[in-house]
């Protein structure tokens, strides 16, 4: 799916080579969602989008995420990407709802 690549690229571009830093994580998560969203809207398809991003420091904590959707199965869809480097995990989800 195009979305998968778009998401991966956006994450890589925003936080690629960095180590987890409390003071910058706010800026990073905002940047990731904004870049994803602008790439998606550039695709010009008749969809509304929701992009969520979770960044977590690696220190042994357990993290579980779940999502459920009430929509039209034939036209709507979602895509989740899990990315990590040495010091943090990043999970980005995109939900696309047909207009």
């Amino acid at each position: 799916m195009d979305d998968y690549q778009t998401e991966e690229e956006s994450v890589e571009a925003a936080i690629g080579g960095n180590a987890y830093q409390h003071s910058r994580v706010n800026q990073w998560s905002t940047s990731v969602v904004e870049q994803c969203l602008s790439q998606l809207s550039k695709l010009g398809k008749p969809f509304k989008y929701i992009v969520t991003c979770i960044i977590m420091q690696k220190n042994g904590a357990g993290l579980q995420t779940a999502s459920t959707c009430f929509w039209d199965n034939s036209t709507d869809g979602s895509c989740a990407v899990r990315w990590e480097n040495k010091s943090m995990y990043c999970i980005v989800s995109v939900f696309g709802l047909a207009i």
Binding site: K48, K58, G62, L63
Partner: protein, 114 residues
């Protein structure tokens, strides 16, 4: 992200959804400690319950409910959302809940059906 401001009576009621979500979380993980074997069941239970409550309201919306449960060990966690939609009709609500051993963040996105 910014709060959703909405003057329209018949559309997304943030406060009501907020309370509804809190109840759902409490009923699923209320008195429990973080458990790796149960967390899967909890997140699934929370999103399902929230969605059922929302659908019961019978409003003309599509819903997306997400839930993240994290063990408290001192790790940093940050979440962000961005939405490309109709700001007059659509809305979202995020609830952050915690107890002694875990954090729970639930987000609800409501998208109006034309």
């Amino acid at each position: 992200m910014e709060e959703f401001h909405n003057g329209n009576e018949g559309s997304f009621n943030q406060e009501e959804v907020d309370n509804s979500i809190k109840e759902c979380i409490e009923s699923v993980v209320g008195g429990d400690d973080y458990s790796q074997s149960l967390v899967n069941k909890w997140t699934a239970g929370i999103v399902e319950r929230c969605l059922t409550q929302l659908v019961k309201q019978g409003k003309p919306y599509k819903y997306i409910v997400t839930c993240a449960v994290m063990q408290k060990t001192g790790a940093g966690l940050h979440t962000a959302n961005s939405c490309y939609w109709d700001t007059t009709m659509d809305g979202s609500c995020t609830v952050r809940w915690e107890n002694r051993t875990m954090y729970c963040v639930v987000s609800v996105f409501a998208v109006a059906i034309a």
